[in-house]
Amino acid sequence: MSVLVFAESSEGKFKKTALEVTSYGKKVAEQLGTNLVVLTMNSSDSSILFNYGAEKILTVTNDALKIFNAKLVANIVKQAAEKESSQVVIIDSNANGLYFAPMAAANLNAGFASNVIALPSVTSPFTVKRKTFSNKAFNNTQILTDVKVISLAKNAFGLVENKVSGTTEEFSPVLVDSNLVSTSIEQTSGKVTIADADIVVSAGRGLKGPENWGMIEELASVLGAATACSKPVSDLGWRPHGEHVGQTGKPVSSNLYIAIGISGAIQHLAGVNSSKVKVVINTDPEAPFFKAADYGIVGDAFEVVPKLIEKLKEFKANNA
């Protein structure tokens, strides 16, 4: 028996979500009275996972896995789960995790719950709380199969240090064939992505035109934040689709979300209300976003944002 976690690495280094799923997996293993096994692929040094509770690390090293292929990874997870007799398999909610987790579940003939936000409330029947109705609600879901696969929502559990002295084992799974071929990857380098950002600065139609985004980018840069936008802004082509956050855009679950010139339509709020703290800056005190926000400023973005940038620069200089 065991709990199996997949810890994703990129260019040999673990992502923050990998440490988060490991932290979470350790607690689930404790609840079940079993051990945590963490599966890694092509990571240079896995010892950091011991700090978050990994009792056993399975390392797979294979050049064929340098470029992510969901079918291959889903099949390796299946082999690892079978080898370790895992009752629960836990995967993160990055783009790759969301891609292969349901494939792994189908491989294992396992019930699957995505968007899980808390530890199981009961382990028998295994019951987890997950986000549903596009963040407008939650449901408590029982997984009825012997093996259970869950995806942990980002930033839902956090990192919990839990140092153990574990072991590392080389694992050489069989690689299945795939004729799905990756031909190129384009990545915006040097920019914080919405998926990974602790802070997201987002702006809407209140900014009047794409030429006014300079101050949004500057504010984001001062805060080390990612930039985002509302749906109308991306529909108008003022900003790329990749920045659209909301019900049909990207979900945001950052620590801080700053909404500038966004009124707060129900669809927008659904996509961003998993963020822990929300700040709204809007000229209209009746804007629905004020009902969803923690802190608000009624004011003109063109006056408030430049001042806020200056004040934050002073704050950063004093707190460096």
Binding site: M103, F112, N115, A137, D196, V277, A293, Y295
Partner: protein
């Protein structure tokens, strides 16, 4: 080319979400149902292949008779025929197993779906279908071209995109970018009239066993009131974010 578009019948994006029977069921009272927005991107791309490349387009859903108006809407947009698997959509895995039977029986070359439904947000049906059928699969798809039996696909990754190539048969889980918002279609009167004559086949369920079960729902907890800060006192805002919220 034979295309199947998987359609989920979901509450409209503006719906207020309420629960009934001791929070054990979704309260559909007064709720307007629509084609799942992610599936609409998939359907719109399928219409493009029909018009430009002569593909035939079938739409399918798993659900009771209440889902038929949603299928008729897809027919009014231009799909050729529809299939309803007469079963309760118990969970994503069960739905995938039902749809896998439909795909085997119809020998489709290309299966298009949305990457998730906006009600249960499972995000699992297309991936599970691909695994059950051993088809190629791309999630979070933002671009798709087909030439002969070769597909060129792009998918969204964290902070960028990846280009891929695959042979048909292929399953795609789409999102915005697969087509643009402005390309989405509203059925016109002629389409609505024609949709009434188009075949809607009802297929009996293969009676799969649920792998998960929702025991209860909870709404988002009520929020405490927003603290308003004067636009002339931004130091106060920074102080609150630093000392109280501890996020900067």
């Amino acid at each position: 080319m034979k295309i199947l578009v998987c359609i989920s019948h979901v509450p409209d994006t503006t719906s207020k979400i309420n629960f009934a029977e001791n929070d054990s069921k979704f309260d559909s009272n007064g709720v307007q149902f629509v084609i799942n927005p992610y599936d609409e991107f998939a359907l719109t791309r399928a219409m493009w292949f029909k018009e430009k490349q002569g593909a035939t387009v079938t739409v399918a859903t798993v659900g009771n008779a209440a889902t038929e108006p949603t299928l008729r809407k897809a027919l009014a947009i231009g799909a050729d025929d529809a299939i309803r698997v007469n079963a309760e959509a118990l969970d994503g895995f069960t739905v995938a197993k039902e749809l896998a039977e439909v795909i085997k029986n119809g020998s489709y070359d290309l299966v298009l779906a949305g990457k998730e439904s906006i009600d249960y947000n499972g995000g699992m049906v297309p991936a599970m279908l691909a695994t059950l059928l051993d088809f190629n699969f791309v999630n979070a798809c933002i671009g798709l071209e087909i030439e002969g039996d070769k597909a060129t696909i792009s998918r969204e990754i964290d902070g960028g995109k990846e280009m891929l190539e695959a042979k048909l048969p292929l399953i795609i889980a789409g999102q915005k970018g697969l087509v643009e918002e402005k390309d989405l279609r509203i059925p016109n009167m002629r389409g609505i009239m024609m949709a009434r004559q188009k075949p809607l086949t009802i297929v009996e369920s293969s009676n799969g066993k649920a792998t998960t079960s929702i025991v209860s729902f909870e709404k988002q907890p009520a929020k405490s009131a927003c603290k308003l800060v004067s636009a002339d006192n931004l130091d106060e805002l920074i102080g609150l974010l630093h000392n109280e919220a501890k996020v900067i």
